[in-house]
Structure formats: structure tokens, C-alpha cells
Symmetry: C2
Subunit: 701 residues, 2 copies
């Protein structure tokens, strides 16, 4: 008896599979899939289905899924697109549990295909049948000896712990092929295809103990669900993700100041970072990170790295890369240095990087590794070997392999060269020692993994800030009502909303004449700012709609003339002129929020004013956020230097800035009507003196 705990388990561990479209022609995918299933040693029952044949590869062929008397767990469908839906309907009728649809000609191929896929989804729902694909390369479950893909025979995976999800069949075949050569094994593989039903979210949620998730993605099914799932999974399993498409500026999703910055790419990177997914930006880096995770059971405990080398040059390059990645070159303990002195030639360097000198043989490498292995200041060891005439490539590889199991550090190896080092690399691969053609790649990999270690540690003590008072303000709802058609709030109304939720804004008075302006300015006190308040002006600085530094009545009169003439030009009956207290001093920052239907509410922070756009010095998180997240956000920007007190300047009121960012995050949760908030500038005064949000824009959904 076999106990099936859930649908996914049946998918990966079926008792019976049908190959609908199995073929006798070795050039057809229907042949390759059946052959792969047989060759990989599947132990369940196999039912080829094809109207044309009686027997394929020694198996009786059925004319239809309906002719099979047993209940089929997985049906692999590899037939022309135009008959897929008909066959899937038959599968539902036959109580097939999962259909893995290899056939293309669906959503990816235009309008006709899109309609076909819609229909397919409905058939599956009604028939209570789950679908992988369509347009999938298939699935593999190494443990269960199931290879239901058309990947070429020579790249059939070894058994291992990589759980590979790929939205591109081609990337997957390259990875399987590369992995085989590098002695890397897989637990499972799914080519998710068009994800009409099962998506990356379902598969990630199904991650099993000890699996390393590797994902190549081209789109997200649902970013909000992914966030919840990934946050949970990354506590135990690493998730490595490669999602290209940075260059596709899918369009700026924020119309106001922060402008073209908040593209989808920023949203995605924020999502990955905040959920602890390990994002890589090239295939090469993906391969290196996966190889390391697959080979090594332990993540780097810290970033303090020692370099052992028989060549100065590559050590310098490696040190450079360490510094660029903000990692630490370990300072060796005195005892370590003394012990190194005993075993190394006189002219060797006993500081880090440790240069064993060009004539180093296996013993010098071994001794150095043993000594460094005991140093408490070292977390990681990078061992570099260049093929000198006396170098013992294979013997050294063997020793490193042996020692890596004996010492309590992460070892990363780079044998640099061609023919002369090949056999050494094979030994390292066999012993599952992370190794790289160039030491720079080792550094990059350690950095990525160490950041994941840090994420896991921090995530334990995360306290997400959520709105405490969940009663929604009537004043705010009335303002929403008033702008429900035009969507863009005028500055006066945006200000009112901020005031209502307790965000400090400077005193402001609406005026209708120069006389009223004078009275307002006297009341508020010079210097003042005069603004045109209209929902029609977003970039006010472009149209003479803001005049600052008004110091006296003469300047006020001059300002009024200009603003009044702008007022007449813009043709907006609801427009008004406002006088605002001018806030002197402080650091100008931007705090913003952009809502994204698929991924969530993105919170932005950065340097304010003209520099926001020029330097794109912006940090981002998804709401809800923790206080620690907010402090990280601030520290990630150059604005933080100004806030901490730059060049003798007094430190600014960072506490109040943190409150502001959390409040913006909270109102984005409480008032889903809001699509964008853009406070620029918020002026952060000296510590204890608070902050003022001087200019705000709010846009409704």
C-alpha cells in the first residue's frame, strides 16, 4: 500500500503514468519521453497511448486514455495543440490525477492559443484534474526514478538535492547537462511552462526537507502569495532565483517625482531580498551558487575569509573582489601566524592572503589548511592553486577534499588553468568540494550565501509593523469620494490626509487675494512659500507653481503675480493658492509608496529634491515592514550620511523619519484606495526637532 499525502506527491511519485502521444518515431518527442521514462528505471506502470500503434518499445499501446482500466496518476500529453483539450477532457473523465502537457500552441502563441488555454483551465477545474504546463519540458523525480521529460539522455540527472523549477525548457536542459558534468544531482525538476494551473508558488510550497530550490523565472503568477510562501520556505531551504528582464522597462509605474525608478525590476528585487531568496543575475552565477549549495551542507557562518595560494597575483585579484563585495579579509590570530611560520619557507607571507610560494607542494597546502582551520577569526577559506612545475595538482586536490571534512570552516577552491589542473578539478567535483575556474566566482558565491545566512538570523527576530487602530477616518474617506473620478488629489487635500494620520506638515492657509496672502504670511511668519494647489499639476516646479524664500511683502506681491498668472493658465476651477510656512534647514528626503497589483505595496525612501531622480539613490521594501527593515532602508542610501550629521552638521531626527515611513506603510494597508503616495521633500530637522512633510502627492486607484 502506498500512502499519498497530497496531490503533489502523486505528481512526483505516481503509481502509473500514461504517455498520450507516445511514438515509434525516434525524432518525435512522444518517443523521447517514453524512452526516458523507461531508461531512467521507472518502477510503476507505464501506458503508452496512440491511435496509430500497437506496441512501442515493448509496451502495449492503448488507443485512448479511456481504454485503460486502471486509474492513471500522471498523464503526459504530447499531441498537437488542437486536440489537447479534447484529450484532457477524456483524462478528466478517466479520473486521471495530473496532466503534464508538453504540447505548445497555447498562451505563448497568441490570441487563439490564449483562448485554448482558458478553455483548458476550465476543463481541468471541472474535471478535478491538475495540470503542469502546457508548453512544458516535463518533470523529473530522481528519487522515484521518474524522468518524464524529453531532455536528452546524456543529461539525465543524478540523484541529489537540487529542486529545479524552470519557466524555460531550454535553460533547464542546459542546466541539467551542465550539472551532470559537474557531478551535481537533482531531487526533482519541473518545467513549469505556461503554468495554466500549477505555478511556481505551488511547487515552492511543496519544498521538502533538505532540498535546495533553484528557480529560473520569466514572470510571477502571484507575487503576494509568493512572498508569504517564500518567507516560510527560506527559513529552512535556500531558494536561488534567476529572473531576467531588467532591461525591459515595462513602463514607469509611478508618475510623480520618483518617476521611472520604480520599475517592475525593483519590485521583483525587493520581493526576493525581503523574502530571503538568493537572487542571481547571470547563468554563470546561478550555476556557481547551486553547485556550492549542492556540494556543501553548511552556509558560511560569517564573511571573514582567508586566502591560501601558491601565487601572489590571483590572491590580490581575489582580495580586490572581497573588498568590492564588502566582505572581510580575515585577520589571523597570533597563534595561527606563529604556526604558519613553522611550516612555511622563510619568505612566505604569514598574513592573509597566505602565500605558500610557487614551489608549494601538497604538504604545504595541507599544513596551512590545518592551521587556518583552527583560527577563530576565519569563517571561510579560499584555496587557490596555479600549476607551477613542482605543483602536485592531484595530490593537493585529494588532501583538500579530505581536510574539508575535518575542519570546521567552509572551503572554496579555485584551480586556475587548463590541462594541468583538469584532473584536480575532477577529484574536487567527485569529493563535492565547491570549486570554481576563477577565484572571483568563489568570492561572489560566498557573498551571496553569507547574505542568506544573515537574512535567516535577522528574520528570527522580525517584528512586522501593522496598523494598530483600524478604524478608517471619515475625513479621509470624504476626500477619496471627492476625487473618485479625477484620482489625483490636489496638494491641499493630500496635506489634509497626512495631517489626519498624524504626519507633521507645515502650517498652511488657502488664500484668494494678495491681501489674504499678506494676512496669512503675517500670521504664519516669514519666510513663507506660495503654491498653486491644483490636481492638474504634478510637477509643480516645471510650471511656476511654487515660490519659496518669500521674505517680505515686496517679494510676496511679486510671487502672487506669478502664481496668479499660473492659476489663470491651468484652467482648473478647483484650483487655489496656498501660503505655507517655509521650513528652514534640515535634510530633504523622499518617502513614497507605489501599489503593484501583483506584488504589493512598495515603500520607497531616498534623497529628496532634484537628486532623487538624478542619482536614483532610492531604497525599497514591501509593506508591511519591520522597524529593522526601515532602518536598513535608510542606511542603504547616501541620504543616511546627511541624516547622521555630515561634516560637522548635527544629527537629524531619524526616529521621527522611521515613524513617517512606518505610517506611510500602514496607511497603504489601511486605505487600499490609495495607489501612490509621494512625499518629496520631507524635511528632517535636527534630532528632537521632528520632521515636516512639505510637499505631497496622493493618487487614488
Amino acid at each position: 500500500m502506498r500512502i499519498v499525502s497530497n496531490l503533489m506527491d502523486t505528481l512526483f511519485n505516481p503509481s502509473s503514468v500514461a504517455v498520450i502521444g507516445a511514438s515509434l518515431n525516434p525524432n518525435k518527442l512522444g518517443y523521447s519521453i517514453l524512452k526516458n521514462i523507461l531508461d531512467y528505471g521507472f518502477e510503476g506502470k507505464i501506458f503508452p497511448v496512440n491511435i496509430k500503434y500497437d506496441n512501442i518499445l515493448g509496451h502495449k499501446v492503448y488507443r485512448s486514455i479511456l481504454d485503460i482500466e486502471e486509474i492513471i496518476d500522471d498523464a503526459i500529453i504530447v499531441i498537437p495543440a488542437n486536440i489537447v483539450n479534447k484529450v484532457v477532457r477524456e483524462c478528466a473523465q478517466a479520473h486521471v490525477k495530473n496532466a503534464i502537457i508538453i504540447s505548445s500552441g497555447f498562451k505563448e502563441s497568441g490570441e487563439g492559443g490564449r483562448i485554448r488555454e482558458e478553455e483548458l483551465i476550465n476543463i481541468a477545474k471541472e474535471g478535478n484534474l491538475r495540470i503542469v504546463g502546457p508548453n512544458s519540458l516535463g518533470i523529473i523525480s530522481s528519487k522515484n526514478k521518474l524522468n518524464a521529460t524529453f531532455a536528452s539522455e546524456q543529461s539525465a540527472p543524478l540523484l541529489g538535492n537540487i529542486y529545479l523549477l524552470s519557466q524555460s525548457g531550454a535553460v533547464a536542459t542546459s542546466m541539467l547537462d551542465w550539472a551532470r558534468e559537474n557531478n551535481i544531482g537533482f531531487s526533482r525538476f519541473v518545467s513549469i511552462g505556461n503554468k495554466a494551473d500549477f505555478s511556481e508558488n505551488d511547487f515552492i510550497e511543496d519544498t521538502k526537507e533538505g532540498e535546495i530550490v533553484a528557480i529560473y523565472l520569466e514572470s510571477l503568477k502571484d507575487g503576494k502569495i509568493l512572498r508569504k510562501i517564500a518567507e516560510k520556505i527560506t527559513q529552512k531551504n535556500p531558494i536561488v532565483v534567476l529572473m531576467p528582464g531588467k532591461s525591459k522597462k515595462i513602463g514607469s509605474i509611478m508618475m510623480s517625482h520618483s518617476g521611472s525608478m520604480a520599475t517592475d525590476h525593483i519590485l521583483l528585487s525587493t520581493l526576493f531580498k525581503q523574502t530571503g531568496m538568493i537572487e542571481v543575475d547571470s547563468l554563470e552565477k546561478m550555476f556557481n551558487v547551486i553547485k556550492t549549495l549542492s556540494f556543501s551542507n553548511t552556509l558560511p557562518k560569517g564573511n571573514k575569509t582567508a586566502i591560501i595560494t601558491n601565487a601572489g597575483g590571483p590572491a590580490v585579484i581575489t582580495t580586490d573582489t572581497l573588498m568590492q563585495e564588502n566582505m572581510e579579509l580575515a585577520s589571523l590570530e597570533d597563534e595561527t601566524q606563529n604556526n604558519l611560520k613553522k611550516i612555511l619557507p622563510e619568505q612566505s607571507n604569514v598574513h592573509n592572503p597566505i602565500d605558500l610560494i610557487g614551489d608549494a607542494q601538497e604538504d604545504r597546502y595541507s599544513n596551512a589548511i590545518k592551521i587556518i582551520g583552527k583560527d577563530k577569526n576565519v569563517d571561510n577559506i579560499i584555496v587557490i592553486l596555479t600549476p607551477q612545475i613542482t605543483t602536485q595538482v592531484e595530490k593537493t586536490a585529494e588532501s583538500i577534499s579530505k581536510l574539508s571534512k575535518e575542519i570546521n570552516k567552509n572551503i572554496f577552491v579555485s584551480f586556475i588553468g587548463g590541462y594541468s589542473v583538469q584532473k584536480g578539478i575532477q577529484i574536487l567535483d567527485q569529493a563535492r568540494i565547491p570549486n570554481f575556474p576563477f577565484p572571483e566566482q568563489a568570492v561572489y558565491t560566498i557573498h551571496k550565501l553569507y547574505k542568506y545566512t544573515q537574512y535567516k538570523e535577522n528574520a528570527k527576530e522580525e517584528n512586522i509593523e501593522q496598523p494598530q487602530d483600524t478604524t478608517r477616518s471619515n475625513t479621509i474617506l470624504e476626500i477619496f469620494q471627492h476625487f473618485k473620478d479625477t484620482k489625483v488629489l490636489d496638494p491641499y487635500s493630500a496635506d489634509s490626509i497626512l495631517k489626519n494620520v498624524g504626519i507633521p506638515t507645515p502650517q498652511v492657509i488657502q488664500i484668494k487675494s494678495l491681501e489674504e496672502a499678506n494676512n496669512a504670511s503675517q500670521k504664519i511668519g516669514y519666510p513663507v512659500v506660495m503654491k498653486l494647489s491644483s490636481e492638474k499639476i504634478l510637477h509643480k516646479s516645471d510650471v511656476n507653481a511654487v515660490i519659496t524664500d518669500i521674505n517680505n511683502y515686496n517679494e510676496l506681491e511679486y510671487a502672487y503675480k506669478i502664481i496668479y498668472s499660473s492659476l489663470q493658465k491651468i484652467n482648473d476651477n478647483n484650483a487655489s493658492i496656498i501660503i505655507q510656512k517655509q521650513i528652514l534647514g534640515g535634510v530633504n528626503v523622499i518617502v513614497g509608496m507605489v501599489k503593484h497589483a501583483n506584488i504589493g505595496n512598495l515603500i520607497l525612501f531616498g534623497m529628496g529634491g532634484v537628486y532623487t531622480q538624478l542619482f536614483k539613490d532610492i531604497s525599497t521594501r514591501l509593506s508591511p515592514i519591520s522597524k529593522r527593515n526601515v532602518l536598513q532602508m535608510i542606511n542603504e542610501t547616501k541620504a543616511s550620511y546627511l541624516l547622521r550629521g555630515y561634516r560637522g552638521d548635527k544629527p537629524k531626527d531619524i526616529d521621527k523619519l522611521v515613524d513617517l515611513i512606518i505610517t506611510v506603510s500602514n496607511i497603504s494597508q489601511e486605505y487600499p484606495e490609495i495607489s501612490q503616495i509621494d512625499i518629496n521633500p520631507a524635511i528632517i530637522l535636527n534630532k528632537g526637532s521632528g520632521i515636516y512633510c512639505v510637499d505631497s502627492k496622493i493618487i487614488l486607484e
Copy 2:
């Protein structure tokens, strides 16, 4: 008869070589070197020298160089350091032309070694003998069948066009080994070692037609000479350079505003860029660029790149990388698209990237390459292959190899995978088609080579700006005289120098009392700036030494109190207070100059004020510079956006800014007494309204 045109030719093409320290013991370098010379087929005469033996490897052994009756061209010296100088003296006596000193134990090994090396240099000079090394791995001249190194036998180089110079023996052995596996050949190789005599400059100058220079450097012998030599060589031969050490912040060489930015690394990168050297920052990139230059005779003519692929995913990653490197995804001609339609399946994409679909076989690749080969909008083609079940790896590799000779485009190939693509890669290597394990590396390489193409084109029309009037001003020389001990000029004197060379500065009046301040302000007109002028204050904004925006007498009085109290604090008898016209509006920039003894005068430009240091948005060139260089400098910074008129602002007076930068470059040439100039801010007003240098610092050598 053999005609020797110069010393270098003798070095690389000797009639006779002696190996001093030749050995019978296969573990000794003296054995390896002699064996390499014999195995590589050297056709000249070979004289082993060793006091201990009579015969090594079938060659008569001499007890001393003085015992050999012939004149020796190259003596390879591989004996303990403490007897090297004695033996070199004998070599000089025996009229040996070149000594290649393998022995270490010189400058690299501390004070004793340094003294030994000094002595060696003197012996060589007196004896009219040239030296390679010491601490060298040796030299190779493939054409002349000379391998006088101790590199391992299996990495002995193939004949080719790479001219490799390496300051690290280990990097060199790794490169030779890697090159052999990748079918890359060398014309010559020199391990330059400690460069006691011959340095990188001599070897670069000796570059022969058709050679590709590849240099691994750890220090510069003389940057100014390198600039002159490299500028000439790069007109014909590419020079690829890897020089690690970025992380070694050797110390900030500029004490004033521009601060810690102008480190040695910036100087080096500026030198490489301005001389057209192709700088790479990792071994992997070095290898890729060299491989491509070695295989392909033609540089990319442009950056318009087409991608042909059997997989969507890698094409998206490649496009991303193209965009990141500011390269262009080629827009295909209509005719190309029509022709592609004819040969590709219906669902294929006939736009760039051209997706041949997963089942593409050799014919589809060939046809697509032929069609793209005729498109005038395409400069480069990247061909990507992933191993699908129907992919014809070897056949496709053969076709690409054939076609690359027939079409007039640069082809770069990436077969992504492991076992399945290995044979294809071998075919490409044999046919000398640039190919990379990952397509991202192809993009990086094209980018580097295209920048070199651009450099060569621009260099043709380069007009270096040099001082025209070379009479030195007495006023300036007097100021130098006055500050000859303290070195740091006070702002008033710095201003005077700028005025003297025709750089616009705001009107300034020295004052001694509030009354004088009032008179000065009335004369100049409010608003004014009050400054403390003292050589003791470099960061004036840190010590209440500058007050801006003084609008009236009240504010003037208040300012005077503050500045006067600072004046009393600083304890400088030469200090004074100055009143300066306040310049309103404009864009603040920094223009600076830092002199570096080895490399030259570095000219800096960037955004001024507090942002200079915060964003490190600085561009640099070495003086002298061309007008085109200056415009490039400006365009490389974000300040250029502000200068061109940002968000409706008027364009600024870039012409006058260009003049300013050229003037700063020129005075750095005319007045070598100056060590640093730091104008921050220079205010650039609207086009036609000129510029003002508001605050300047000058430091003497």
C-alpha cells in the same frame, strides 16, 4: 649571417643561450629550463653552466660563463641569490648581451634583497648588459622556438599572436596552461619579474605587427612613459591589461574636497582609458578578451548586436546584459525580417533576439546566420545554443565556423551546457571562433572591444590642448615664493592666481572692520558672502568660515561677529576677512587637479558642493587633454544633466566650463610648482552668462 636590429631582437631571437645553474636533478628549476629549451626545439647553440656536472641531457657543461669561447646572447641565470651578482659580473666580462635572472631573493624579499638588486642594476649598467627579472619565470619566443622558462611541459605555448607580459609568474603559468587548452597561441611571453632593468615599458614599445599585447601588472615602472608608448602602440595593436589592487586604498592623494576619491586606482584607470588600453578587472574577463582577439582578426565595427538562439531564456539574459553595458540590440531591416519569415517556423520571432525555437537544427541556424549576415543594421551576432533533444551540436558548430568566414560580421558563440555541447565547443575552438561558456561573457567582450574601436577612431582626430603662451606670470611666481614653506595658499591668493590666468572669479574685497565690510558690500551689491581667508583652513564649511546669503546690513553685522570670532580662534597672523559677490543661480561643479609623480596630472570634474564626496560622481583625465576629452568628461557625470538644463531649466554655459577645465589642465603643465588645484564650487550660469569660480584651493609641491 643574422642581422640583429636591436637589443630586444637579440633577447627574443638569440644565436646562443647559456643556462647558468643548469642541473641534472629533475626537481630543480635549472633542469626544467634546460629541458624546456631542448624540447621546444631551439635551433641556436646551448651552453649549460654548472660547476658540478660534466654533461646534462647530452650537452657539455661549462664550469663558468668565462669558459665559453663564443659570445652568448642570452644567459639564463638560475642560481642562489647570494651568488647572482658575482655571476652577472662574469657575464658582463664575457660580453653576454642579456641576462634573464630566474633567481628570487631580491627587491621582493626585503631590505637585504633591495640592496642586492641595487648592486645588480649597477653591475649591469657598467657592464653594458641588459636584464630581465630578477625573480622571473623566463621568456618564450614561439617563432624562434625558444622556451627559456620553467613552466610545465604540458603548457608549452602554441605559436600564435598573443604577446604576454606578466609581473606574476603564477598568473602567467595559469594563462599558458589555459591557453593551450583553448587552442590559443603566443608569439612571445616575458615574465618581467622585478624589472630591475627591462620593464613593461620596454617590452610594450617592442610590440611587433600583428601582436596582441596582454599584460598582467602589479606596479608601474613609469606611468608617464607608459602613456606615451601606449598611445602609439594602441593605434595598431590592442593592449589588454589586468592590474589588480583596487582595494588597496594606497591613501588619498588629495586632501581637500574631492578627498578620498583620487586614489591610485582612479589614476591607473584614467591612464589605461586615455591611452586606449583595454582594462579588464578579472582573470576570467582577461581570458575572454584575449581569446577573442586571438581568434578574430577584426574588431567590432559597431555595437549593434543581433542574437540568434534556440532558447528564449538565455536570449533575455543576454539582452539584459547588452542593455547594462549600454550596447544596442540591433533593429533588423524589413528585408531581413521577411527573409527570416520564409525559413523559420510560424511561431518563431523574426525580431531581434531571433528565436529559432527549441527544435532548431543546423539548417535553421545556418539560414538565420546567412540572412542576418546581410543586414546593414547589424555589427555583431551572438549565436546561442542550448542542447535540446533534436539539436545538432557538432553540425551546427561546423556550419557556424564555415559561415563566420563568409559573412561580414563579428560572430560570438555560446553553447551552454556540459557533456552535450563539449564536442561543439572543440570544433569552434579549432576553427578559431570566439566562444564562451555563457552568453553574458560574449556581451562583456564585445563591449570592451567596441570601446577600443571607438577609441581608435577618435584618437585619429585628437587635438591635445597645450598652453599657447608659455611665459610664466611674475605675479604667480611671487605668490609661490610667499607660500614656499607653508605650501597651502589662502583663498585670497588662490583667487588671485585664477584671475591672473583669466579664470572668472566673483569680485572680492579684503576688509578689516565692520565699516569696511559695509562699504565693500555696498560697492559690490547685496547679497554678499563673507569668508575667512586663511591658509590654515581647508574645510571652511566645518569651522564657521563662510557665511552666504547676506542680504542687508543687519545680516552683515551678525556675520561679521561670527567670522571675526573664528578669525581670533585660528591663530594665523596672515588671515584676513573677505567680502565676495554672491553668485545666484547656476549649477555648482567641482574642477580639480592632482599631480602624481609617476603618472602625471590628473584633472577632475564633477558635481560640486556636498554631493562631490557623497556620490563620488567624478570623471577624470590626464593632462594634457583634448577638447573632445573634456566634453566626454562632462558627459560622464550626472552633473551634465543639470548643465544641459534639467526639467525645464535653461542650459548652462558649457563652453565656458570647457575653457575652465582646459585652463586648469594648462596651468598644471605651465606651473609644475602646483601640486593640487580644487575649485569647488565653480558656478556655471546660463548659456552666454559665463561661469564663476567661487571657492578655490591651491597647494604647492
